[in-house]
């Protein structure tokens, strides 16, 4: 399963990078949904060939929440707000790609320093940390509220991978709790977007600037 695991991890990194380089919100939402589906494989790949109930439950709920529910909520929010594209991000797409690369480097460096040796694949911790940093950068550099939620999701996906890779003993309970938390968070953010859209007629976060100083 090591190869399958590596394949999933590499694909996660690539989806991150493609996300940084895309402007269409629909595409971005699909990419994050794809990440959610990929994440569902991780608990199975780690416990293979035994099929633990906890792992399967986690995989199923990850698939359901990250792969199905979030995209639906976000696409709904996007449609309501009639926002199709991230028009002018604070950082352009090409520089964003390079920043994403830098984040991957930073994640590798940090993982190297930490030298946590419980991981199944040497890629897991670097990939997780780079996803966390990329998510943070995405939240900071984009203007649409939906994009910011997407960045938050990438960040949370990173912590998911980190949790799975670090907590070797009983990770799945913690992960399930985490998943529930993120689920509620995205739901709350969805409601907030809905209200913002109703109040402002747009979801451009950079125009939320009446409060200063």
């Amino acid at each position: 399963m090591r190869h399958a695991l590596d394949f999933v991890l590499v694909t996660l990194v690539l989806t991150d990078l493609v996300l940084l380089g895309s402007s269409r919100l629909t595409a971005c939402i699909r990419l994050v949904a794809a990440q959610g589906v990929l994440l569902a494989f991780l608990p199975l790949a780690l416990t293979w060939p035994e099929l633990e109930v906890a792992a399967m439950a986690l995989a199923a709920s990850t698939l359901l929440v990250k792969g199905v529910a979030f995209p639906l909520v976000l696409e709904r929010a996007m449609r309501d707000a009639r926002a199709r594209r991230e028009i002018e991000p604070f950082v352009g797409y090409t520089p964003s790609l390079l920043v994403g690369l830098g984040m991957l480097g930073a994640g590798t460096w940090l993982a190297d320093r930490l030298s946590a040796d419980v991981v199944r694949s040497p890629l897991m911790v670097p990939v997780a940390l780079s996803m966390i940093l990329t998510g943070l950068f995405f939240v900071i550099s984009r203007k649409k509220a939906v994009s910011q939620v997407l960045g938050y999701l990438v960040l949370e996906n990173g912590t998911y991978v980190l949790g799975i890779s670090l907590l070797s003993e009983t990770p799945f309970l913690v992960e399930l709790g985490m998943l529930l938390d993120v689920f509620v968070a995205v739901f709350v953010m969805g409601i907030a977007i809905f209200q913002i859209n109703r109040e402002f007629d747009h979801i451009d976060v950079d125009q939320l600037d009446s409060l200063k100083g």
Partner: protein, 311 residues
Amino acid sequence: MNPSVTFGGPLATALGLVGAPLLLGVINKTKAFFAGRRGPPLLQAYFDLVKLLGKGAVYSRTTTWVFCAGPIVGLAATLVALLFVPLGGVAATFAFQGDLFLVVYLLGLGRFLTVLAALDTGSSFEGMGANREVKFATLAEPTLLLALLALIRVAGSPWSLSPTLGNISTASSLGTAPVIGLVAVALVVLLLSENSRIPVDDPNTHLELTMIHEVMVLDHGGPDLAFILYGAALKLWLFATLLAGIVVPVRTGNLAVDLGATTLVALAVGVVVGIVESSMARLRLIHVTHLLVGALVLAAVALLLAVGWSR
């Protein structure tokens, strides 16, 4: 390290010297097939070369020796580089620690002289072409280096191209497949951009404003143009065989089989390029940057992954 000379290396180099223009013919035939034309004969590139070599050259009085040196150095640099690039599992004529840097910078030297020659004409069009060429090269060169370094890390070999490609085989490639895949994608983009193919540049265009490479060599004629064309063919061959050696690693140990397989795959790469050219339009210049940065990022990801592996 002593340069290792075997029988296979010179044979591979000779194959490249002879076969390179054929690759152009394959691409053009493929394009003609998809366009529903009969197209030029497979060996048209050879005919062109012979024809051009037989002609004289006219030099503008504003040009200097740099203008003449461009095509010659360009061809010479590519020729020398070819001596260091293995044909799949068949080691190159020469190999030493760090030869990949020599290869990358020989190609860079060739480009540099071509650009200087273009600037030497003082023509604004050629200057514009040179500008674009250099702009894209600043992204393409690090990509090539990173991709090769990633390969070396994966193969766990000394810093030399021949043993690296020799170590990549079907047996070991399952675990390293992600890295190899990323490097291959990056190399495909590089192949298209470095050899001025669609979607980066259109080799058939006649509109100077949209050209990149072609516009730089507008003022060259006769043997000079032949050198340039031959050099370009060699460069294409170099990239195609490199790609073929990675994607389909046939490493039987039998010289004829290895050579034949890699050559065939290289010709297949030509077919793929033809298909790409038939099915795509040229990208807007601003998107070319995006594409090349993408390739750079892929190569860098490959390198980081490869480093992560060997930890």
